[in-house]
């Protein structure tokens, strides 16, 4: 993994998620026992504690539950990126996830309730991070 401090420290529970992210795919988890779909990934189900869980490909469609344009962050690389968008997306499958607003789309377009799709931006050879953007 790259060594920048903000890069996820990948572990055995998250490795499939980040590997799929590099391929532009969003994987979330579903419980085979209680059918709960959840994000972020865990080997067990947080709703019923069953260990019978599976990875599923998400539709990568959702709506913006909330968002903020960040104008100040003293930490790099974010300082150079200001202002940038932080978005909580409610996925069609139910769970919410935090992502960035697509750095190539004007921030003014970002608003609550807006339908979006999840895409991935390549940050390094080993890392792609999810972003939200208007549906194509």
């Amino acid at each position: 993994m790259a060594s920048e401090w903000f890069h996820p420290i990948v572990d055995t529970e998250s490795e499939p998620f980040w590997t799929a992210a590099r391929e532009g795919k969003l994987l979330i988890k579903r419980c085979r026992s209680c059918s709960k779909t959840y994000y972020y990934p865990r080997h067990f189900c947080p709703a019923c504690w069953s260990g019978e869980t599976e990875w599923v490909s998400a539709s990568q469609l959702g709506t913006i539950y909330s968002c903020s344009a960040v104008h100040q962050n003293p930490a790099q690389p974010f300082n150079d990126l200001c202002p940038y968008g932080v978005v909580l997306v409610e996925l069609e499958e139910g769970p919410r996830m935090m992502v960035n607003w697509d750095f190539d789309v004007p921030l003014e377009l970002m608003q609550c309730g807006m339908p979006v799709e999840i895409a991935f931006r390549s940050v390094s050879e080993t890392l792609a991070l999810p972003i939200a953007r208007p549906r194509s």
Partner: protein
């Protein structure tokens, strides 16, 4: 029921504001010794200690040793700024169970000087490991997390930035009465609106200060409380509630866990929001206050904006709140819940710099993390 079995008998701040000559440990000691003097109790009386927030993983042990204490009961659950309200809950239980007789709650930090010394950055960013690997990489600062909450409240209920600004204006009006407050110049809604955007919709004056300092509170058994220097301030109800650690897991961004902590505490105390004479409400950000007021039942969900816009949170308003000026205008060394207890105690004793006319019931609600945890304490005088 807490009944009237445990009381706050000592409360004190350390020097605060910018105190680069004091170490964080000295700040703890200064606050603790002043609280002891305030109570009339001796160091030898203290057999319980509640503290968190230091540098080491073993902060409670380091602080026991530094203060020269060997507590029979030790608590250090760190849930952020609300830790102090939850410590009161734990201290009451420990005292009622006979595990200790007199407990010291103590906090100290120097975030202002630490940023100047480059010992820490302006934002306490989480390491992107374990569950934070799904949030830290996106640059969501502490303020941005509260901004997400504010934006959702605005989207859902039409709350305006001007209504949030009215909260900051009221806190500043209270701070003007407090000679020790860091910011005492009156401000207007327009001043808040003209201040720099930090994380939309939160502007600089929607955000708490960053100051150095600490505080301490001493609680003891009823029979001992009656023999202390000042009238006892009874703990008649407590409640705590957790919600989440990452923002994607907060079930409803418009509902503070104070809804549950206050319900528990009010039920124990046998009160409702209407019975409260003075409120000490965690004000890390203006939106923190708005959500807490709704959650505690002072107004309906979504009505917080219109509730606060007439300035009723000022010391001379209908719901005097943060009569010391709060974290928005007086002081905010990181985990501010201890100061809520101190100011509530002062109001019930008649010692506040913005003293109300004979308040009988004071309530403190602290908030920790990212609206992640709340602790509510109901206090009453004889």
């Amino acid at each position: 029921m807490s009944g009237r079995s445990v009381a706050i008998v000592g409360a004190a701040e350390s020097d605060f504001g910018s105190v680069p000559h004091l170490t964080t440990f000295e700040i703890h000691a200064q606050a603790a010794t002043r609280a002891a003097v305030d109570s009339g109790l001796n160091k030898q009386d203290v057999d319980g200690l509640f503290t968190c927030g230091g540098f080491g993983a073993l902060h409670a042990l380091e602080m026991s040793e530094y203060l020269g204490l060997h507590p029979r009961f030790l608590g250090s659950t760190n849930v952020g700024g609300s830790s102090w309200e939850s410590f009161i809950e734990s201290a009451v239980l420990a005292i009622q169970a006979g595990k200790c007789n007199t407990a010291l709650l103590v906090y100290g930090a120097t975030p202002k000087s630490d940023v100047k010394r480059k010992l820490r950055s302006g934002d306490l960013a989480a390491m992107p490991r374990a569950i934070q690997q799904y949030e830290a990489p996106f640059g969501a600062t502490l303020i941005a997390k509260y901004a997400l909450i504010a934006r959702r409240h605005m989207y859902q209920y039409g709350t305006t930035p001007e209504q949030l600004a009215a909260i900051a204006v009221a806190m500043r009006k209270n701070a003007a009465r407090n000679p020790k407050a860091a910011m005492r110049e009156p401000i207007s809604v327009q001043d808040v609106m003209a201040s720099k955007m930090v994380a939309d919709p939160l502007r600089l004056l929607d955000c708490c200060l960053r100051t150095d300092g600490g505080g301490a509170v001493i609680v003891t058994r009823a029979d001992r409380a009656r023999d202390c220097k000042k009238p006892p301030v009874w703990v008649i109800g407590t409640g705590s509630a957790e919600s989440h650690a990452t923002m994607s897991q907060m079930e409803d961004l418009t509902i503070s866990p104070a809804k549950r902590s206050a319900a528990t505490a009010f039920s124990e105390a046998g009160i409702t929001a209407k019975d409260i004479d003075v409120l000490q409400c965690y004000d890390s950000f203006t939106i923190t206050v708005l959500l807490t007021l709704e959650a505690m039942g002072f107004c309906k969900p979504g009505e917080g904006g219109s509730f606060v816009e007439d300035g009723k949170l000022a010391w001379d308003g209908a719901l005097p709140t943060n009569t010391d000026g709060g974290g928005l205008s007086s002081n905010h060394p990181g985990m501010r819940g201890i100061f809520l207890l101190i100011e509530a105690t002062r109001q019930l004793r008649g010692e506040s710099t913005a003293q109300l006319n004979n308040p009988r019931i004071a309530v403190c609600t602290g908030t920790g993390g990212f609206m992640s945890h709340c602790g509510t304490v109901v206090l009453a005088k004889d």
